[in-house]
Amino acid sequence: MDLNEEKELVKKAKKDPEAFGKLYDQYYSQIFGYILKRVANLDIAQDICSETFLKALKNLWKFKWKGISFSFWLFRIANNEVSNYFRKNKNKIPLEKIPEPTSFSNPSTEILEAEEKLKEYQDFLKIQKRISKLEIKYQEVITLRFFEKKKIKEIAEILGKREGTIKSLLHRGLEKLRKDFETK
């Protein structure tokens, strides 16, 4: 879908639920994937993803087309939701100690399979664990840059910051991450 088609679809989505459904189908995977890479937990990722799309629906009337992809707006909402989650749960439960969903509920086979699949990405999980110890501002730029493969300009759009700020956050974040790798 090119930008013009997307623009039309967003315009339609403000009047037609089906068009909104199309937008959702288009971006669900990207947004869920980003959230999962930030929290590395399927249960939490599902909750935050739901919250993200509900917020998007609530605020769609405010969305103004600025010539950049609608997904950036969704990324921004998702990013805020992830940050809110971390802030609310700060000093509550360390990420690695979040109980396995199997101990609370009777999840579907699909979830169990997904859990198993996630465990296969051990290298990612190890790095993510270290990234999650950094301040939120560093976590978001590193995840968007390296896991989402976004350009500096795109990260700046998503986070609503200047490109220079993103570059310096990235540099400092990587420096902190490197020190963390060196110490352990």
Binding site: K14, Y28, F32, L42, C49, A114
Partner: protein, 258 residues
């Protein structure tokens, strides 16, 4: 750092999708769509009304505080200048010193003649200072305060006011003495300390108008060394003597205005 960057770039990230979640969330979103759409309409109308309201408030504020007062002041001046009594005052050398608007009424302050600042004459051209002193006393001419009814476009009242005389406070007196002692020669004899000329202003206070002098932080000092008389201005703010001027020499029998 490069190793770390490479590691981050090469790490395989999970590409997991939970279709049941995707489907359920889609259903929830679509079921909420119509309700949310009503909210969008409500908020967008509310936002438009709020912006319009803010715009109107801004226009009202600008009109009330910038356009209307200036227009009213110009109108008040025009009405005042048409009044025969004020016209006569202006023709005799008076001038409009200030204008103010209070509760739909305009007040115009007219100074009947230019206030004279005491300056000692140059003796070379005039007679001895003692003789001149009487003539050079400060003339406190009354001012007139005209009340203008803007609705009826006429002068409602003209009141003559004797302007209050500016007096030095004790602190100012001390300061003047201190600066004089420091700045003028020890053998000099201070003849007179003159308060500054006061510009009269109309001041709004508790919905009423008051004619008050706008005090300048200065004093004129006249001092004598032998037969020579000097004048200087004491700047109370910067605490220094400035604009020193030689007034001339006086005859012995005319000193001190005796």
């Amino acid at each position: 750092m490069e190793d770390l960057t490479e590691k981050l770039e090469k790490v395989k990230t999970p590409e997991i999708e939970i279709l049941s979640h995707k489907g359920k969330l889609r259903q929830i979103l679509l079921s909420q769509y119509q309700r949310e759409r009503k909210n969008w309409l409500f908020f967008s109308i509310f936002q438009k009304l709020a912006f319009t309201g803010l715009g109107l408030i801004l226009i009202f504020f600008v009109f009330n505080n910038l356009i209307y007062p200036n227009y009213s002041l110009a109108k008040a001046r025009e009405i005042a200048l048409k009044d025969p009594q004020i016209k006569a005052m202006i023709e005799k050398g008076g001038m409009i010193k200030d204008l103010q608007i209070v509760k739909n009424q305009a007040f115009v302050l007219i100074q009947t003649a230019k206030e004279e600042i005491v300056t000692a004459p140059q003796i070379a051209e005039k007679k001895a200072l003692g003789i001149e002193e009487k003539a050079e006393k400060k003339e406190e001419r009354p001012v007139a305060l005209a009340e203008i009814n803007l609705k009826e476009e006429k002068v409602a009242k003209i009141e003559k006011i004797v302007p209050p005389v500016v007096q030095f406070t004790e602190k100012e007196k001390e300061k003047i003495q201190e600066i004089s002692q420091r700045e003028i020669p020890k053998e000099a004899e201070i003849k007179e300390v003159i308060p500054p000329s006061s510009e009269l202003k109309l001041i709004k206070k508790e919905g009423k108008i008051q004619v008050l002098p706008e005090k300048k932080e200065e004093a004129t000092i006249i001092y004598q060394i032998d037969k020579g008389r000097w004048q200087g201005k004491i700047n109370l703010k910067e605490e220094k003597l400035e604009e020193i001027e030689f007034l001339g020499e006086i005859e012995n029998n005319a000193t001190n205005g005796k």
